[in-house]
Structure formats: structure tokens, C-alpha cells
Amino acid sequence: MTWLALGAPALMTVSFLAVLLVGKRFRNGGVELGLGVNVINVVLAVALAAAWNANDKISIEASTHWFEFAGKAVDAAIRVDGLAIALIVLVAVVSLAVNVFSSAYMKDDRRKTHFYAVLLLFSAAMQLFVISDNLLQLVFGWEVMALCSFLLIGHWWEEKHNVAAAMKAFLTTRVSDVGLLLGVAVLFYGANFSFSVTALNEAAANNAVSRAVLVTGAVALFVAVIGKSAQFPLHTWLPDAMAGPTPMSALIHAATMVVAGVFLVLRLYPVFDSAFGITDGSGTANVIVIIGAVTVVIAALLAFLQHDIKKVLSYSTVSQLGYMVLAIGAGAPMAALFHLVVHGFSKAALFLAAGSISRSVHGYDLRRDMGDLHASLPFTHASFLVSSLCLVGVIPFSAFWSKELMVVEMTDAGFMPFIWVLVLGSVMTAAYMARMYYLVFWGARRGSKIVRESPPAMTISTGVLALGAVLVGFGAIFIDRPQLHASGGWLAILVEAIFPLLGIALAVVCFKLGIGAVGLARRFKFARAAYHVLWNRYYLDWLYEHVIARTVRKGLSLVVHWFDMRIIDAFVDSFGRASVKVGKALMNRLERDVVDGTVNAAGGASMRAGGLLARSQAGRVQRYVAVSVTAMVLAAMVLMWVVQ
């Protein structure tokens, strides 16, 4: 079965190279190859899942000697368990749908071959990432994905702001990757000189790791998670990343890559659990649950203010990632994984639908380009509506089940107060999704009058993902869940079922009464201040770009440059000039008084020899030999003095 697991990334890597090198010779720029490989990939993923299931869900493990480091053998290892399988299937299916969608969406792009190739490299990296049982392999997949993300965000690099967005995404995550490097390094020592994930998890679960090392490692890794999975306060790169082609946003910045951080915490759950005491029963708030909770709320708030359809979706992604992180920190890892899959399907479908819409109306702006599209885009409308319901979690659509599981698991772990964050989040999710849905499909038509439905490749791939989003909800049946013993649990579930509807109702009421953020801000002083903070995205971008980045770029770097040129180099130059003078004076005296003839003869010979090579330099070399002799004498004197 090992080959089933390794086959997919290997195939993807080979086809990445193939598309890159010969893709242009294909009629459709190599997407043919990409599609074929992606179909095989889905088959492999399903086969792997079936094989794993048939084999009593025993993890598939394999390892081989990789290298030796400081006397310790390091193995390259894979481990395919339920967690990995869930991700593999998600990546395979979404990736296929996105490739199908792109074959139409990117048809006329001048660099489509490049786009298809990078999509394949991305899938390879992600699939290798999820089956890694070695921290270094995790780092490898993590960074290659970041690189793919950079290349795809900057796909249209002619435009300056696309390049800026790509740089911002890469550098922001790179900042948090400092945590990844440090965390992996620290945990290497924690796991008794091993990079093995299994060994590390076991050591952490058995309390065999020193507390300081464990906590340091876990905190460092969580910093990496904050960047990669766009958690507060490093979430700012994700909305900007929407500068790339939409199908890529669906795959990388909604369904898969951004969940890599969440996956990392799930993969190393015993480490985080033991470092933060998540399941010690106390239900004490920890850094994970707090960051997750803050992210849920602050991102959802921002989603209300966006006019760009992709921006709304991306803030929604940030908020939903917050849900997952919150759930993990609150002792509900299974629910987090479930929500990850549900969100993966529904958000990918929403992004593809958004791609269809923006392509049809030639724009992304909710206020200027859209409105009343339900009739002209019937298929897209259906997919959008269904996947929205899934994301919002209107009973019986899928996110209801994942959030319900969250409530159950969190109650079990004693994190009751945080259930109210879920509830609040549910209301907000429902409300901003309702707002967006209404602005796109109903009301008055704004923008161009003639709108055509997208070609089948696009509508079908979107529809399949929307259908998938509905179906994964029923996966809840197969999940082992803790007994619901706390009395508050049922109430919370009831609340979870009602509040999304409340959110939708709220949005409808606001629309009917004409209450909007802008209007409120005009009328109330407090609302105005809040609006300003939100409009400036909590001033985080300002802080990062105008304060931190600028200080480095225009401040520190220039200080260093100045120091280099004006202090060090100036010293060197003047030292050189002074020594030449001293040397000259000395030489004159020496020559006149002592060595005259001999030196002249020898010097003359070397002058002639040097002159053969380069007449102009020979004299100077001699001069500097004099300098070096001086230096040598000085150094010898200093040494003698020290020795004595």
C-alpha cells in the first residue's frame, strides 16, 4: 500500500516537470496532462482510502534511511492514517475540480502552461506534506507550497500590485516560518535527537520530553501555524493573495494550503496537548484557543465591509480557519478536521462560483458589477447557494454537523465558555454570507446587462464541489464521538441550529430597513470609530508595511549601508593611504641609507617580470607588499607582548 501513498506525489512531480518542459507543445498548453494525472490521483486517493479502511484502519507506515547527521541516523518516513487520508482525498478532489475549471478559465492566458505546471507541483507538495512522518519532510512540503503560492499569486507579474501581494504572502509566512525552523530544531532535541513525528508524539504523550523544551517547541510551531493558516495577527496576507487567478485561490488559499497550519497542529496534537494541557480537563484557556477565537470574530467583522467578492470569501476563510484552530485548542481535534474538510469543499465551490461570476460580469465588485444574477447564471447560482448553506451550517447542511461535533467535543473537554464564540461566529457567518448572496444574485442589476453562464467545464466542476460539500456533512455519521454527558451540550446544539437562521434573518432585516455599516457610521460616533478601525483592517497592514517593513527597508538597511561605506570602508581607505605614505617614507630612507643596490637590482628584476603581465600594477603591488610587511611586524610585536 506504500506505493499507493507515494504514487500520487511521485506522479505529480513527474508531470509537473513534464508540463513545465513540454507543456507548450500540447494544444491546450499541457492542461491535458494535468487533467489526466489528476484523474489518476483521485483514483489513487480513493483506492488508498478503501485499502486503509479494509485493513481495519491501521496506519500505513514505511521508512528508509535518509542521511546521517552528527552520528544519528535520520529516516525518511511516511505515515498514512485517517488524518492523512482525509486530506489526501480532499486535495485530490478539489485539485481535479480546480484543474477542470482552469482548463476553461485560463484558456486564453498567455502563461497557462506555467499555471498548470505549478498547480501540479503544489499538489505534489501538499500530498507529500500530509503523509510525512518526519519533521523535515513537513518543513519541505510546507515551504514548497509557499513557493507555489508565491508563483501563483504573482502569476500576472506585469502588474505591480500582484507582485506586491505575492511578496507579502511569502514574506509574512516566512516571518512565521522562523517559528517552524526553531520549533523543529528544538523538538529534534526534545525527541531525543530524532525528527520522527511518531517518536516525538509518543515522547510527548509519555511526558518524556522536558517541559521547557516541549513548550518552547510548541509555541514556536504555533507561530508558524499563525502565519500559514492566516490567524490573527498574521492573517493580513491572505486577503491580498486574492490577486492571483481565482481557481488557484480556490485550491490553495481556501481548501488546502492554508489548512496546512491546522494540519500541523493536528499531526502533532500530542505535543500541543501536553504542552498546553488542552485535555487535562481544566478547560483553561490556552494560546491556541484564544488566537482561534479572536480570529473567528475579527475576520468575520471585516467580511461585512468588503465589496470585492473574493475579499469577502477570503475573510470568511480566515474566520473559518479560526474555527478550526479554536476547536483544536478547545480539545475538539476531530471536529476541527471535520470542519476542515467541510470548509475545504464548500469554500472551494464558492471560489469557483465567484470565478464564474466575475468572469461573466467582468468584475469583482459586489456593488458595481453584480446584482440580480440568479436568472442569468442558474447553475452557478445553484452551486453558490448550496455551498453557502453548507458553509453557514443551516441544518441539515454540512457545517451544522461539524459545528455540532465541535460543541460536543468542547463540552467534553470543559471548554464551555468558548462555545459562545462559535455561536457568535455562526451568526456572523450567516449574516455576511447572506449579504453577499443577496448582493450578487438579487436586487437590481448593476453593471453590464448581458451576462452569460460559464461553459460546462466551469459550472460542472463547481457543481461537483458543491455536491461534495453537501455529502461530506453526512460523514458525521461515521465519526466516533464522545458521550454527551453535560446538560449544556444539547442546549448548545439547539442554539447552533437556530443561530445561523438568526444571522440570516438579521441580514434580511438590515437590508429591508436599509441599515448598513456606512449608514451607522454616519449616524453614531461610536460606530464611526469602529468603522474606521475596521476599514483600516485594525491598522495591521499599516503597522507591517509602513512601520516595520519601512523601518527595515528605508531605515536599518540604509544605516548599515552608511556604516559600511562611511565607517568601515572609509577607515580602510584612509588606513591604506596612510600606510602608503609611511611605507614610502620608510622605503626612501632605507633605500638611501642601507640596502640601495641589492634592493634596486631585485626590485628591477621583479618590475620587469611583473611588467610582462601588467606594467601598471607591478609598482603598486610592491608598495603593498611593503604595507603587509609593516602589518606583519606590528602583529608580531603585539603577539610577543601578549605572550610575554
Binding site: W66, E68, W157, R174, L181, V552, A631, A635, L639
Partner: protein, 506 residues
């Protein structure tokens, strides 16, 4: 005791024969660059033959050991071990790459003969430095490297070549002079021997003097090696030399010559003066992390493509210094890996920068831009180099940087652990700055609309010669990125042994 391995000797003799051939064979019979390439190729073949026969746990191999200057007890002693083999092979390979590049791009000024001849002479010096096991011999080769490089920069360089060449020369001669005093101190204060293995083996007895004296002597050696590395604050010759040097020379400067300093620290300074090394280690680590951050910040202020790449070497060499400062096998492995990878990657970057300059006659980042529009292949090679240089795992550059970070968590016994952990964090922050300046540079050169220098210019994309040079380098960068065992299995036994002897009880 006389011991002569033909392969060990061949690494010196073959380029010498090549040099003779270049000088003797009349022009016209066979093009000089072709002759030079044959010389480089045969030398590299010797290196490959060594690799094939090399036994990772076999200790020193391909030994040449004959009497040389008996009056001062200095012997002609060469050998190869795990510390030198990767660097030796990498530099031989880079000479071949330069040789191929020179087939079509010999500088117009001056004679091609002198140019190729100097390159061959340079290779003699470099190989000799990596092989020499006697301080006098080492010094000889270490200095020999200087002469051809001085002329390569001074004659075939850019506008400010005179200044750059002189600065390079003076800096290095100054460093070497101090280093020579250190060598003499080792000789006179120790067992009156120049043999590096003997001095290292009886490590604690080698310099039969107090810790204070060892520290002073270590400082002398450090200055010599620090100039070559280069190490902050003795680095300012480097941006000038790299920038003014012709492409072939700047590639060799970065790929090969910078390695001599780090190699010298590992081969001589650490094992011969272990007590001094331990005293200096915290300072060395500090200089390493300062270089990492300082170099990276300096890069952000550069406006010249070649100067930026040159400055990035300072930052990269910081990781080497940090790795060495830990005085652990892990740290030394990382340092050697980082030097190896830096040779391949920065060599590639300088080749591309040379290609850009050759085509557009400018290196000004403000005038470049949108290179992807006109020369996509060349741009993506640059992109590849950038990605490799910023230490993406899966490419060779990762292991050195990560290894140095990893090793600083637990430096050798007796070194200040907490201080090194602070270094560890600073070094990791350096990787962010590396990404920043490299991506900034790449986006300035390749992305965006067509820049001033590219307007209305018809330029060729990657030429065949360039492809022949670049593709193997890129493949090597990937291979050594995914299979670190290729280096580590060779290096690890030697560094472990080196550190063991260093810390052996008296």
C-alpha cells in the same frame, strides 16, 4: 617516511600541466579556452576518481608525504578527508563550469592565454590549499591563490578594477601576514613542527602554552581566515572585488575563494588551538549572527545586481561562522554543507548576473525590470538561484542554514548554551531578511513592465553554452537538496573525529 598517492598529486599537477600547455601551445593550433577546459576537465576527473575510491570512514586518503624543507621540519604533505573532499570537488566542478563559460565569453581585452593561464594557476592554488597538511605548504598555496585573482580583477575587471584589485590584495595580504605570524607562533611555541595532523592530534599539547597564548594565536589565525571568508567587519573588499571582477572571476571568488577561509578555520584553527577556539567561540558566534543580519540589511540597500549578490555572501557566510562557532560535529557539518551549497548557488547567481550585464550593459536594479518579458529562460534560472539562495528546503542551501540553527541549540560542552540559543533565534530571523532581499531583487529584475535598460533592445535568451553550464548546476542544487546523505555521509565521520580529538582529555 615517503608516501605518494598519484591521485593526490594529480590534483596539483594536472592543472599545472594545463597551465604549461596553455603557455606553450601556439595560438591557432587549438583555441586556448578549449585547452583550458581540457585542463579543468581532467582535474575534475581526478577529483571524481578520488570520490569513487574514497572510503568515508577510512580517515585521510590519497596521501602524499615527502621530505620538503628538512631544516625547518616542513614536509610536502597532502591528503584528502571528509572535510576537504566535498569542497575540493565542488571547486573543481566550478572550474569546469567556468571553463565551459569561457569557451564563448573570454573577455575581449588582454590575451586569452593569460586569462585562461591565470585561471589554471588559481586552480593549482585552490586545490593545494584544500590538500595541504603542512602549515608552510598551506600558506604557500593560500597566497598563491591571491596572485592570479589580483590580475584577473585588475586587468579584466570593470571600471573601478584598479581600486577593487588593490583593495582585495591589501586586505588579503594584511590578513595573511597576521596569519603567518600565528603559524610561526604555533611552530615556535609548540613542538617545532608545521604538520597539521601532528599539531591537531596532540591537540592540547600542540601549543604548549597557556589558554591566553592559544587565544592570542587563535586571534591571529582568525584574522587571516576572516578576511577570506569574509567575516564582519573585514568584508568590505568583497563587494568591490566581486562587482568589478569579470564574470568568470566573480564566480570563482564566490564559489571557491570564500571557502578557503572557512576551510582554514575548520582544518587548522579549531583542531590546532582548541583552547583558543573555545574562548573565542562565543565571539565567533556573535560575529556570525551579526554578519547574517548585517549582510542581509546591506543587501536591501544595494542598487547594483552583482553587488547585492556579493553582499548576500556575507550573510550566508555568517551561517558558516555560526556553525563553526558551535564546535560540534553538527555545526561543522552545517558549515561545510553551507559552503558547498553556497559555491553552487552563488556561482550560478553570478553567472546569471554576468549574463544580464553582458546583454544589457548595466547592473543597475533601477534600470532593469521585466526581464521575464524578453528573456524568460534566463530569468527563471535567476529565479531558481534566488529560491535556492533563500534556503528553500529541497534545495542545497537549506541544509547549511538549518543545520547551523539546529547546532546552535546545543553547542559544545563548556560554551554558553543560552547565548548560543539567542544566536539561534537571530540566525532564524536572518532567513526572513534573506527572503526579503532576494525576492525584492528578483521582482526588480524579472517582474513588472520592461525597464529602462530593456526598452527597444533585442537580446538573446539563454544561449547553448549558458544552458550547458546552468542546467548541471541546477540539477546538482536539487540533488544535494533532497539527498543530503551525499555530503553528510562523507563529512560526518571526519568532523566527528575532528571534534573528538579537539576535546580529547590531555
Amino acid at each position: 617516511m615517503t608516501n605518494v598517492s598519484l591521485l593526490g598529486l594529480a590534483a596539483l599537477v594536472v592543472p599545472l600541466i594545463g597551465l604549461a600547455a596553455v603557455l606553450i601551445v601556439p595560438e591557432g593550433k587549438l583555441r586556448t579556452p578549449v585547452l583550458g577546459l581540457i585542463g579543468f576537465g581532467l582535474t575534475f576527473a581526478c577529483g571524481l576518481a578520488m570520490l569513487v575510491q574514497y572510503k568515508p570512514r577510512g580517515g585521510p586518503q590519497f596521501e602524499v608525504n615527502t621530505s620538503w624543507i628538512p631544516s625547518i621540519n616542513s614536509r610536502f604533505h597532502l591528503f584528502v578527508d571528509g572535510v576537504s573532499l566535498p569542497l575540493l570537488l565542488m571547486s573543481m566542478a566550478m572550474f569546469v563550469a567556468v571553463g565551459i563559460y569561457c569557451l564563448t565569453r573570454v573577455p575581449k581585452t588582454g590575451s586569452a592565454r593569460a586569462f585562461v593561464g591565470l585561471l589554471l594557476l588559481l586552480e593549482v592554488g585552490v586545490n593545494g590549499t584544500f590538500l595541504a597538511q603542512d602549515l608552510v605548504l598551506f600558506f604557500l598555496f593560500f597566497e598563491l591563490v591571491l596572485v592570479p585573482m589580483y590580475f584577473l580583477i585588475g586587468i579584466w575587471g570593470g571600471k573601478r578594477r584598479q581600486y577593487a584589485a588593490l583593495k582585495f590584495f591589501v586586505y588579503t595580504v594584511f590578513g595573511s601576514a597576521v596569519m603567518l605570524v600565528g603559524f610561526l607562533a604555533v611552530y615556535f611555541l609548540g613542538d617545532k613542527t608545521f604538520s597539521i595532523p601532528e599539531l591537531s592530534a596532540g591537540a592540547s599539547h600542540a601549543v604548549s602554552a597557556t589558554v591566553g597564548v592559544q587565544t592570542a594565536v587563535f586571534a591571529a589565525l582568525l584574522i587571516g581566515f576572516a578576511v577570506k571568508l569574509p567575516m564582519f567587519p573585514l568584508h568590505t573588499w568583497m563587494p568591490d572585488a566581486h562587482t568589478e571582477a569579470p564574470t568568470a572571476a566573480s564566480v570563482l571568488l564566490a564559489s571557491v575563494m570564500l571557502k578557503l577561509g572557512g576551510y582554514g578555520l575548520i582544518r587548522i584553527a579549531l583542531p590546532v588551538l582548541p583552547e583558543g577556539a573555545k574562548v573565542f567561540a562565543p565571539m565567533l558566534g556573535l560575529l556570525g549572527v551579526v554578519a547574517i543580519i548585517y549582510g542581509a540589511l546591506g543587501c536591501l540597500a544595494q542598487s547594483d545586481l552583482k553587488r547585492l549578490i556579493a553582499f548576500s555572501s556575507l550573510s550566508h557566510m555568517g551561517f558558516v561562522v555560526l556553525g563553526i562557532a558551535t564546535c560540534t560535529p553538527a555545526g561543522l557539518n552545517a558549515a561545510i554543507y553551507a559552503m558547498f551549497a553556497h559555491g553552487l548557488i552563488t556561482g550560478l547567481l553570478f553567472f546569471v548576473a554576468g549574463g544580464v550585464q553582458h546583454r544589457l550593459h548595466t547592473r543597475d536594479l533601477a534600470k532593469l525590470g521585466g526581464l521575464l518579458n524578453v528573456a524568460p529562460r534566463l530569468s527563471w534560472v535567476l529565479g531558481f538561484g534566488v529560491v535556492a539562495s533563500l534556503g528553500i528546503p529541497g534545495l542545497a542551501g537549506f541544509w547549511g542554514e538549518f543545520g547551523a540553527i539546529l547546532a546552535s541549540f546545543q553547542p559544545a560542552d563548556g560554551l554558553p548554551v543560552h547565548l548560543f540559543r539567542v544566536y539561534m533565534v537571530i540566525a532564524a530571523v536572518g532567513t526572513v531578511l534573506a527572503a526579503a532581499y532576494l525576492l525584492w531583487m528578483f521582482s526588480r529584475v524579472a517582474f513588472g513592465s520592461v525597464g529602462e535598460a530593456l526598452k527597444g533592445v533585442q537580446i538573446r535568451d539563454l544561449t547553448k553554452t549558458e544552458a550547458v553550464v546552468f542546467v548541471p548546476l541546477m540539477i546538482a542544487i536539487v540533488v544535494f537538496g533532497v539527498a543530503p546523505a551525499l555530503i553528510l555521509d562523507v563529512v560526518d565521520p571526519s568532523t566527528t573525529m575532528l571534534v573528538d580529538t579537539m576535546f580529547a582529555e590531555q
